[in-house]
Amino acid sequence: MKKMMKTCLSATASAVLLSALTVSAAQATTLSFVSWQADDDAQGGWWKRAISKFESEHPGVTIEFTKVERGAYADTMTTLFAGGKPPHIVHLASFEYQSFAENGWMENLDPWLEKDNIDMTGWAGQSSCRWNDETACIMLLYFGYMMAYNKEIFDNAGLEVPTTYAEFLEVARATTKDLNDDGIIDQYGTGHETRGGANQYVTEMLSYLLDAGARWTNQSGEVTIDTPEMIEGLSRWKTLLDENLTPRDMDSGSIRNLFSDGKMAMRLDGPWLYPIMINGKVADQLAIAPPPLHPPLGGSSNVLGMASEISNEEKALVWDFIKIIMSPEYQRAYATEGGNTPPSPVADVSGVEKDVPHFQLLVDTQMEAAEAKVDRIPVGLEIQYGEFAKMVQQEVQRMIIENLDPADVVKVMQKKAESIQASY
């Protein structure tokens, strides 16, 4: 009986040990990858194809691809890193990676680039991935804005596609209508997100500021808000909201859906609008034109990197995945499948127009934005961007709600921005 007991116990112990080893081996070959684009119509498929290619080249290694909503993304990533369980493959927005890099949570990619002799010269927006003299990430998208418009609304009103702010405003006024006289506007001239996150709010108003010649900071990182150009830019934003030329308090998803449903004349947006447009209710009525505001809004969008605290073996695997993403083949697919302008200077984008008819326009606006050194994240306020954006959103809301003079608002914003900059 004793012998039998001993045999049973040793068998159980062996089974437990074996299963523990199996689990640990399985864990070692599973790379975690969290992204807000996991089930995105265009982008999600592109990621999944890259994952399949990686897995086929690395038998026994799998990538666990998990979706986290964009609204909860920064919270989730912060919690994962803080809890010591970061995803192996780190996908972040270009305005939020700085805090992670500053904390030493992102691997310096310079040695990996050197090891494979990868020259990043000409890689669009890559300079934004430099943090504390290290390459903290690879820029995935450096974009330029376009203007989408509803041809039928334009034709019915006998309007031409605007090429300046004045014309844009005129068209927006002419196309904002209460179609059935019930006191509720049914068709808007344009649309901007004014609800939700401060980052998006600031991005939405930025086109008007840039066209007026305003910048949050100069290239040295000094705050330049208290300027006549900024007063003009804020006045334009105020006009749009005061005259209800855009729906109020809507998130960007609802705004894009409203446009693709035919209830909006014009929408200034990035390349990601196109997949929504072609699946919209009035897809045949929608067209794309160069943005009437110059320089167009553009800049860095999202980045890819790796967590610094994973093992060297895991880092090597993550680096292999990043190399697939950076390969000319996948950079081309980034354009054909996602409708985006790939950052790689060697990506073959010939014939992409067949899949994305407005592709050249995207390339042109991307280059125009890059030449004008436009980015959503102001130089010198990268790490404070969250707090800065919140401050701007509140002061601009105050301007609209309390009908304040933009000339007074810029003075307040200048002081507050300088204070935020100095507090870090």
Binding site: N103, D182, G183, I184, G196, R248, I400
Partner: protein, 302 residues
């Protein structure tokens, strides 16, 4: 033999061990998921840290977070908004909850259905309720503004979420809708425990409806109401999702409560030390408020 005696929980002198043993899982669970994070949070509030990672070396002790907090107008604004919301939602939930409980306590046809409808908002998940209310209070196509226009109360759409006063009341109304069934259910249970003899005696003495409510119903309900008010109050204090989804704390911080401020500081601005200080102060306020209310409840009831 000695061992057998050691673990003999049936012995009168060891019977309390069984109690501890049965309580142990719950105590351990509470310690792990509540006490431990609480200690971490208190500790963080005394460090000048931004992003933190478990296991990192502790930063030097400092009171800077509390100094910043007490001199920050944003903190006092958040306290004021929280207080206003607590009062508005607690009073609103109490009035609506008590009224509906009194209503469905009467005998009438369809009472069961009425009770079910009364409890329905409590059963709806909070996020779903908020999404529904976000649509109702939509500034461009919302139902509420449409009703207001049809009734002639206003001639144009109300910007619920981008007007400070309207945003506050949109949040308060959503919370009252979500919170009143709890008051109703608790009060209904309290009403059913009041002996009918009390009312019969009062009627004989000539007491009218108001007098019966004032001198019988209300005093008898006080113990229940005391606990209910504390629970509603704590719920309003800690509630996050309704405000986050509906207004995100805006506009102009008109709906930024202490819980929203904690979130913004931690996950928006990555100031975990400062956010922990806000959390600790919120906890202290909640404890004081609970002690105050619970201390008053039973006395009033007696």
């Amino acid at each position: 033999m000695h061992k057998q005696r050691m673990f003999d929980l049936a012995r009168p002198s060891r019977q309390h061990w069984l109690g501890y043993l049965l309580l142990a899982p719950a105590v351990i669970l509470v310690a792990v998921i509540i006490i431990y994070p609480l200690i971490i949070s208190v500790d963080l509030s005394f460090q000048n840290v931004k992003l933190v990672k478990m296991g990192d070396a502790r930063k030097p002790f400092t009171l800077i977070n509390y100094q910043r907090l007490f001199t920050s107008p944003d903190f006092w604004m958040a306290c004021w908004v929280t207080l206003k919301l607590v009062v508005a939602v607690t009073v609103g939930s109490l009035v609506v909850g008590l009224s509906t409980a009194l209503l469905v306590n009467n005998k009438f046809k369809g009472r069961t259905l009425a009770r079910l409808i009364m409890a329905l908002p409590w059963a709806v998940p909070e996020v779903i309720a908020v999404v529904i209310f976000a649509w109702i209070f939509d500034s461009s196509f919302g139902l509420m503004s449409w009703v207001f226009i049809k009734l002639g109360i206003t001639t144009e759409m109300v910007a619920w979420v981008s007007t400070p006063g309207a945003a506050f009341w949109a949040v308060a109304m959503t919370m009252i809708w979500k919170g009143f069934p709890f008051v109703s259910i608790m009060t209904l249970a309290g009403l059913q425990s009041i002996p009918s003899d009390f009312y019969a005696a009062a009627k004989v003495d000539g007491a009218n409806v108001y007098q019966r409510f004032r001198w019988i119903t209300l005093p008898s309900l006080m113990p229940v109401l005391g606990v209910t008010i504390v629970l509603v109050l704590l719920w309003v204090f800690r509630d996050f999702s309704i405000i986050k989804v509906l207004t995100n704390g805006g506009p102009l911080k008109s709906t930024t409560t202490l819980s929203i401020m904690t979130y913004d500081q931690a996950f928006g601005f990555f100031r975990f030390g400062y956010a922990s200080a806000v959390g600790v102060i919120t906890l202290i306020i909640c404890v004081i408020a609970s002690l105050f209310m619970l201390g008053r409840g039973p006395k009033s009831g007696l």
